[in-house]
Symmetry: C2
Subunit: 342 residues, 2 copies
DNA sequence: CTGAAAGCGCTTACAG
DNA sequence: CTGAAAGCGCTTACAG
């Protein structure tokens, strides 16, 4: 961060004013072609790099966007982040990442640092704690400083801002229907991600479908670090559960592993559908049928919305996108029309 | 980014000078307790947030570190990034992420933006293209601007800077030995990540081990999007390959899937060891034995090294850490001492 | 204990 | 076509 050449230095070397150098470098038509050329050559020669801090201090925007997500390890967030980064670099923006680790405390700190770091806007997916307690006091600085905010995936209704997510309840409902249509008689919902808006919505959709179908409901919450193998086994053997909608990718994989280890066959004895089309869904044996959450697309759309908002291309009122999704049918579910050969 | 209250405004409101406000807010002992209190109260009331841009322009450092990685989707990088972020926030630094997408072009652009964004230092894992061509011209600005650099995982010998990685060749050698000791007679190396330093090193280690063992060598390069099922099948059936060291997690999983689909049993007919202890290794059936790359630890160490360098806590000469790693034995390899019951 | 002043590296009306 | 000057929001010697 040292001895970088500045406009002043360049000006001295060229015997012209700082203004002239600045304008020349910025291709101002005010400056004569020769001067422009001279200035640029010397700048290149000296590896001149403008000091963005100084530029931003004048222009009042930084072209950087803060991103706060609960984690990066789950495939959904890694992929969303990838989408955000791709779009940002395409649009000439930079991103600063903070991880809330599902905690309000850390989320609050991140908001603080990003705001004083003068980001032009904030893209967030809320922490589990924030969602569970629906506590949003720590987001207050965002509003009082009028920093544009777009929420994606894990949103909260009471927050007024731009939003992008999928219609989780509808998708869960459809996934449950798909399970039914493929021949499942008793379908359960397994969740390893309790207390998030997406879990609530998915459960709601599941319950709705079961109600419409006139079936019985069964919701199981569990800790991903300690899967209830016995419970699942009993559910399949005595309660005749033959279809499971899982709250997310990892939960679905855990359900399948457990069932397989107990000697059941998938999809014959048990059909499974998960959420998020991650790498495990594709490679597990059998491969997992899943509701595609379009993580990358959500990320891209969130970033695009942010930029449009910043650049004033959006109407006054907030926009809310609910992405269309679809079910990717793979080997963990039976074909819709049961085939003789399979 | 609008109407934020500034020191000037606060000073006007309090009828004191800007200097006084600044000092009071920074807990300077020069200022009387009462004034300090008054100033702080008003600042809080007005949600005053210092403008980091202006602060940094004075102090010449930003407490932000640029990170350029080839991708975020592979588990290794997501985890390393997690380590970097965790450590950074622990140490009071922020990180700006750029993804090179394995391309020199994008890597060069990222270097440019990060440097003019005045990061205090740069942490990088090189793109495949950079490594394949050993082209480092686009990194020149880093050196000419004397920006501290730490390379992790995918490093290049000819670059002089701090480095953190694992001893890939040694690990590969040991993994090959482990395969041999567990009873494998003919071991092959399968790589889906050609042209990176880590691949080279791992292959080197494999070849070394095979040489020492007096066995025959077999190296297979493949495109992860198009796994050579037939080839693998033939290798197992006619060439009697019974052990495979894979270059990375995905490659290992692809090898296992293909073998399983061809009707072979793992680890009975074929033992497999991969690199990177990702989520798939743990959940695949059978679970994958793997060389733990300690991604998170590499990330943390890289960041720590960076901060130590920035803060002048390191000796003049560059440091190079080669992390100790270990093999996690799971179900894709046989027990070292073959058991009767298994 | 408080304040006036210079300066960080830029941009941009405004003169000439 | 070129330059002097003000200002972005801070910090920090230096006076008083």
């Amino acid at each position: 961060m040292d001895q970088r050449v500045t406009l002043k230095e360049l000006a001295r070397l060229l015997n012209v004013s700082i203004s002239t150098v600045s304008k020349a470098l910025n291709d101002s038509p005010e400056i004569s072609p020769q001067t422009r050329k001279r200035v640029k050559e010397l700048a290149a020669l000296n590896h001149y790099v403008p000091n963005m801090l100084a530029q931003n201090l004048k222009t009042k925007h930084t072209r950087t966007i803060g991103v706060i997500i609960p984690a990066i390890l789950p495939h959904f967030f890694a992929e969303a982040l990838h989408g955000i980064e791709t779009k940002a670099s395409e649009l000439g923006y930079r991103i600063i990442i903070c991880i809330s680790n599902e905690s309000i405390q850390k989320e609050a700190e991140s908001v603080q640092t990003l705001i004083k770091g003068q980001v032009d806007g904030l893209i967030m997916s809320l922490s589990q704690e924030t969602q569970a307690k629906t506590e949003i006091g720590h987001l207050q600085p965002i509003f009082s400083h009028k920093v544009p905010l777009v929420l994606f995936d894990r949103v909260l209704n009471q927050i007024e801002c731009d939003k992008v997510h999928i219609n989780d309840s509808l998708q869960a409902e459809q996934a449950t229907m798909a399970l039914f249509n493929s021949g499942c008689k008793k379908i359960a919902y397994f969740s390893g991600i309790s207390d998030t808006s997406v879990d609530d919505e998915r459960k709601k959709g599941y319950l709705e479908a079961v109600k419409n179908l006139g079936g019985s409901r069964k919701v199981v919450k569990f800790d991903p670090r300690d899967f209830p193998d016995e419970k699942l086994k009993k559910l399949i053997e005595t309660r005749k559960i033959d279809g499971i909608l899982a709250s997310d990718e990892l939960s679905a994989i855990l359900v399948m592993k457990s069932a397989l280890n107990s000697g059941f066959e998938i999809p014959e004895d048990l059909s499974v559908i998960g959420f998020t089309n991650g790498i495990m869904s594709e490679h597990f044996r059998p491969s997992l049928s899943t509701v595609d959450q379009h993580a990358e697309q959500q990320g891209k759309l969130a970033l695009e919305t942010m930029v449009d908002r910043i650049e004033g291309k959006l109407p006054e009122e907030y926009v809310e996108y609910k992405l269309e999704t679809s079910i990717i049918h793979r080997k963990s579910t039976r074909g819709k029309v049961p085939q003789l050969t399979d």
